[in-house]
Amino acid sequence: MGGDTDIDPDLEDAEVAGLIAALRARYGHDFADYTTASLRRRLRNALSALGLEGFGQLQHRALREPELMRALLDLIAVRVTGLFRDPWVFAALRTAVLPVLATYPRIAIWVAGCATGEEVYSLAILLHEAGLLRRTRIYATDLSDAALDRAREGVYAAGAVRDATTAYLEAGGQASFADYYTAAYGRISLAPFLRRDVVFSDHSLATDSAFAEVHLVMCRNVLIYFQPRLQTRAVGVFLDSLVRRGFLCLGTRESLLRTGHVDAFEAFDGASRIYRRR
């Protein structure tokens, strides 16, 4: 095989392994246990997005330029999400989980892998309509500082409104989605009161530990990017964080089956992938 990584997966494999090791040594970010195919694809796309020729050049510059590292992190670690994605899951949270949360004097929720924040704001709206927002703190964490900055702003493209409105209604929204944003210059700004008690912070499920006791963990479409060993680690951190009988909500195609913690939970709502800690 020639030296062109374009058609030499083994050469690419070796370069990616080197890049991962270098990023870990330099910044402490650990991508070793991310699923290979997805990570490689994202890294290839990152090369084009950053205008770079190859992984060697990427590694050379990422180690030396924190700004490039920040951009790289945004490209390889963040999932794209939307308001009330999979509305039936939010409907299930509203009707089955929130009434249980309501029995606690103070509620804590962790959105792990919050990306640009849409899930956080969707939850906040649900909580507000259930009269629970005032006594809830939401911890919203992600690997990417750039994504966290955008999540804090709560500003999204106006093009998202139509789908968000439909999804909000399908999730059982009691008011009008328009009540929650103001529109200007082709963008919508979500109402500031929604993030009044939201703490945005960086956190890595590969290297960091539990930091708060919570009643609900939302971690949707993050585990699909992890190999089983890292999935087990992440769910272990969730277990450390959850109160007894607390809830864990995964993505609609995810399950605890490949983690070492499947017996620590019971299924609560299968279709919505909501589990309850035993």
């Binding site: 058609i7 699923t35 997805s38 994202r42 089983p228 993505g251 195609r253 995810e254």
Partner: protein, 206 residues
């Protein structure tokens, strides 16, 4: 000097079938013609609306001797099951071999993307891969099929004249010199033949 290491190739070949507009009616018959002991991993990637509930997967496998179901994240990609990409997720083939899902942005407006499935499968299966391109109104699959061919796999394309939407088959035939145009009635047999050859080729180069 030692030769560079290669990833350990799977011990069986794979078939990835991709299609869009006009492909759905073809699939039950195509899958029904596969023998229950087909010694290959099989995946199907169709452009369906993200809001689709996925019940179409059961419909696809109605007459198929192999169980047909939506692909699960992390599932082993081995003979015995037909895995169907879930609506709204990219399907990738990973080392193992296992299947992986992704919610990365749509590629050319589609998710699942046939290109994503073909490219990842090519990296893992190399010459032991058959990529099948069916009817479709866009060019998804063209870039992926090229990679399949360059890594030694076979590309079979539904004859454009038989396709409800010939754009996708035509794009692949134009881009991939090694791709072969096949009449739908012969596709199952050609897949089995290509798999047998690919398995032998894989043994020779591995």
């Amino acid at each position: 000097m030692r030769a560079p290491a290669t990833i350990v190739p799977p011990t069986w070949p794979a078939v990835i079938i991709g299609g869009s507009a006009g492909a759905l009616p073809l699939l039950p018959g195509l899958l029904a013609a596969l023998p229950v002991d087909l010694p290959a991993a099989v995946a199907v990637v169709l452009h369906v609306r993200a809001s689709s509930d996925g019940s179409f997967a059961r419909h696809l496998g109605e007459r198929c001797p192999l169980p047909t179901r939506l692909a699960e994240s992390g599932a082993r990609f081995a003979p015995g099951v037909v895995h169907v990409a879930p609506p709204g997720y990219h399907l990738l083939v990973d080392e193992g071999p296992t299947l992986a899902l992704s919610v990365d942005p749509p590629v050319a407006y589609v998710r699942p993307s046939i290109d994503v499935a073909f490219e990842s499968a090519a990296d893992v299966f190399r010459a032991a891969l058959v990529a099948v391109v069916l009817s479709g109104a866009n060019e998804d699959g063209r870039v992926g099929a090229l990679r399949v061919a360059r890594l030694g796999g076979r590309v079979l394309v539904q004859a454009p004249a038989t396709a409800a939407a010939p754009t996708m088959p035509e794009a692949v035939l134009a881009a991939v010199p090694e791709a072969r145009s096949i009449d739908p009635t012969e596709l199952s047999a050609m897949i089995r033949q290509a798999l047998a050859r690919g398995a032998r080729r894989g043994e020779q180069t591995g």
